[in-house]
Each structure stands twice: as C-alpha cells, then as structure tokens.
C-alpha cells in the first residue's frame, strides 16, 4: 500500500524524532524517494528544528546571570 502526502505530513514530527515504527518508516522512506514536495517539507522542517536548537537564537540578557546570583546572595544572607 502506498501512503499519500497528507499521511506523510501527519508523521513528520515523529519521523524526525525517530519515533515511528519500522513499517511506517519504510513506507515514508519509499514515498520520499519519489516525492519532491514531501522531501522538501521534511528537510525544511528538520532544518527549522536544528536552527531552533542553536544557542544563538535565544540569548540571555547581558548581565542576567550576575544579577541573578547577586539576588541569591541577598537571599542567602537574609535567611542566615
């Protein structure tokens, strides 16, 4: 049985996470071999996931850690 594009899209996130069973993975792989659109959807989704995980996307405000630890010092002294 061949699966269609919509079926592939439903499983893209799980596919990226390696969270689909072997049978479904093989079906998706076979679909991807011939479907340019689904290949591009998969590659672009995976690319977005990789970029999001880069520490440069979310930056802490300058001095965040120093101010946080100053506040902790204040609490430690207050509580002693």
């Amino acid at each position: 049985m061949r699966i269609d594009c919509k079926h592939v899209w439903q499983h893209i996130s799980a596919y990226i996470d390696g969270d689909v069973d072997a049978v479904l993975r093989a079906e998706i792989d076979r679909h991807l071999e011939t479907c340019e659109i689904c290949s591009a959807v998969l590659d672009s989704t995976r690319n977005v996931v990789v970029l999001m995980a880069d520490g440069r996307v979310f930056e802490l405000p300058i001095g965040f850690s120093r101010r946080l630890h100053d506040r902790i010092d204040g609490e430690l002294e207050r509580a002693s």
């Binding site: 899209w9 659109i37 672009s44 690319n47 979310f58 930056e59 802490l60 101010r67 902790i72 002693s80």
Partner: protein
Amino acid sequence: MNAPNSERESEWIQRILAGEKYLFHDLIRGCERSIYILLFSLLKNEADAEDAAQETVIKVYQNLRHFRGDAQFRTWVLSIARNEGLGRLRKQGSRREESLDANTDEHTGDFTPAILTNWREIPSDALEQKELRDILLSAIQRLPEIYRNIVVLRDVEEMDIRETAAALGISEGAVKVRLHRARAMLQRELAPQLKAFAPKRKLFLWGRV
C-alpha cells in the same frame, strides 16, 4: 545542553540543606537558562522574564527541602517557573485571554505545511545574522501558548518528551501532538522566509578537481 547530573545534584541539595548554602549557586547554574527561556516564552518580555526568573530561583531555594528525588531537579524547577509565569499572566488579565482561547488540543488550525520543492539547507552559521535570529524568535512568539511552551522546552532546550511532559504537567501523548502541530506551523511560517538565507551556489567551484 548538558544533561544535568542527578547524583551530583542530590548530593549538593543534601549539603545545602545541611548548611553549605553557597552551593546553591552551583546547583541552580545548570537550570538558569531554561528557567529564563521558559518564562520569556510565557511573558514575551525580557524584563518580566528576568524578574520572574529571579523570583523562581528564590522560591526554589526556599522550598528546596520539599524537593523529592522522584523527578529531575530541572523538571521540578521548571514547574515552579511555569507557575510563577502563569500567576503573573493571570494578574495581567487581558493577556491571558489569548492563551485560554487556544488552550485545548481540540484547537483546530491549519497544520498543512508550506509546499515547496528544492529545499536548500540553511546552515547554522547563518544565525550570526541578527535578522535571521529575529525571524525565528518572532515565529515562536506568535505561536499560541500551548504550542510555544512545547517548542521552547523540546526544540530550543532539547529536553526529551518525558521531561517536557513532566515540566508542563501534561501527558507524553499531548506533548507529541502539540509538538507536531507547532513544528508544522513553524515550517509553514518560516520556510518561505528562510529561503532568503540559503547559501548561494558557488558556481565558480564547479568543474574544478
């Protein structure tokens, strides 16, 4: 992101509770980025997120003796951060409505991906450009809250499904459904914009050995 070492953490916690309180600085260091990012994703504002992060950390210290080793320390800390963030949203009132509106998994939306062909990978080096970072950040911020939280914990902080579920107090199945929808919405929104950041083909290299 380094996986927290839970044995070392529980040893530190015992020593802190026994009086070596300055070890708390080391204990919390491994969590502070996750705390801030989760709160920023809830409050959408640097100053509020920083203030709430400080409040969270003080609450963690004050409640340390209540921490039970059956959850990861970071998971416990993040659930405190989340409560702190939600409490602030409730006080702000109006901003809460947006999230309540989309607060169930029955929320229907268009999760059809952006259709394209010939995707050329955007290399991580492109993140040196502020413009690209801003595009990614604003796409996350435009997601409904229940999807935003998931993306931030799972894809930005790279927590596994189990820890994400525990920190947000939802089932692993709900994490997977929401993660799928969130990634689909992000792909739909971002793929057309990201194409501009694809490296140009270096034609002059072709044909050389």
